[in-house]
Symmetry: C2
């Protein structure tokens, strides 16, 4: 969070937000400073080295295809409240409400048994896409990397069972779609086993788990709210 003391890592304890020394420590130590939520600005809760998104993972039918993941540039990171510039020449801008896995430690070759040991917690993600570019670029580099195309937040919830969380997308206050992480083709463990077969993940990395239909085309001025039950609401506007 941004405070009058600068940018500080905090942990919520009974309504108070207490400064901690190290978000990724086994047992973060409180440094003494305490904040009320209304006096701080919530930022992207981590600065990832790697942001990955799961493709075609939104419904059980997607199990027919092998798993696949795409990169989103770490420079496309955004936080709660950040405006997402509409890219005039790129065609449709699509927002997608998803659950994000926040990685807590270096991880390679995870197994189903130990996959959750690598997870610090979960946050809300909006996987913004220049959707009309996807058919033009098989790597989706043109699709996934625009300015502020990867909002995450407003915080990380640890000690959460993410296997069946409700997801809702709202645009300008109107409910567009609701779903559940139980709808995903591949759940958290399976996603992490797949990814860490092919690359290393580490502290602060984000995996957007896929969009179970919670998507919408948006235009400048739209206010987008992605809500995940048990985590919170991530709100951004299109500018």
């Amino acid at each position: 969070v941004r405070t009058q003391d600068g940018i500080v890592a905090v942990a919520e304890r009974g309504g108070s937000w207490n400064a901690i020394d190290d978000l990724f420590a086994e047992a973060p130590r409180e440094t003494g400073a305490r904040y009320q939520p209304e006096e701080v600005e919530f930022l992207a809760p981590v600065v990832p080295t790697v942001i990955l998104g799961m493709a075609h993972n939104g419904s059980h039918a997607d199990r027919a295809a092998p798993p696949q993941a795409f990169h989103k540039s770490a420079r496309s990171l955004a936080g709660p409240g950040d405006a997402i510039p509409f890219d005039e020449g790129a065609g449709r801008t699509v927002v997608e409400a998803e659950v994000g896995i926040v990685i807590g430690r270096r991880a390679r070759h995870l197994t189903k048994e130990n996959a959750l040991d690598a997870v610090l917690g979960y946050t809300v993600c909006n996987d913004v896409s220049a959707a009309d570019q996807s058919p033009l670029d098989s790597f989706w580099t043109q699709t996934k990397n625009g300015k502020n195309y990867s909002p995450i937040g407003p915080w990380i919830v640890t000690d959460l069972d993410a296997s069946s969380l409700p997801i809702e997308l709202r645009v300008n206050g109107e409910r567009i779609a609701t779903a559940s992480t139980a709808d995903l083709a591949r759940g958290i463990r399976e996603v992490l086993v797949y990814l860490t077969r092919w690359l290393e993940l580490g502290p602060g990395d984000i995996v957007m788990t896929g969009c179970p239909g919670t998507m919408a085309s948006v235009v400048p001025g739209d206010r987008v709210e992605a809500e995940v039950g048990g985590i919170g609401v991530l709100a951004n506007t299109i500018s």
Copy 2:
């Protein structure tokens, strides 16, 4: 470079390697410490936020297709001398000698006229690939992100015209292929205009410009040397 004083940014001046305060400053200041090359270990010369590779950019015939780029994970970064683990279950491991653009400042929407203003200099890259994975994963996430799959170095040469540099790949001392950056379908300016249309680049980012045939399949024990005339030799072993 790694020195007895820790990791230090240095600039070469007449055979001496002089510590500097900020690699990305307009005019880096020397801090006073000086090193001889034999007393330091050359590391990857930058720690990129974003590593991109140009696909199908190795010959003029590739102009028939639109430009495309793929991400390589920043966690796949490696330096001179680092061993590249052979991935037993992944099929062929292929190395590719390429010129890497090192970005010096934040850049979006570059034009042909100002594109080179964003360039700090050039380094040698080895774009390592699990080549047999490419047909299995259209995003090339399985192909491009293995441990130490992105060696760069041994240094950055600034004030270089990179439009016609010789590139050579050697394996176990044997010359495998030679080519030139003049063979690339799209040169430095055109690549940067394309990329910054779709995403932001910034200090330390690396763009691997594409492989003009300077590639080889390798096996454990192979010693790979990628040489670019005017820059130097990047050597790594397969382990």
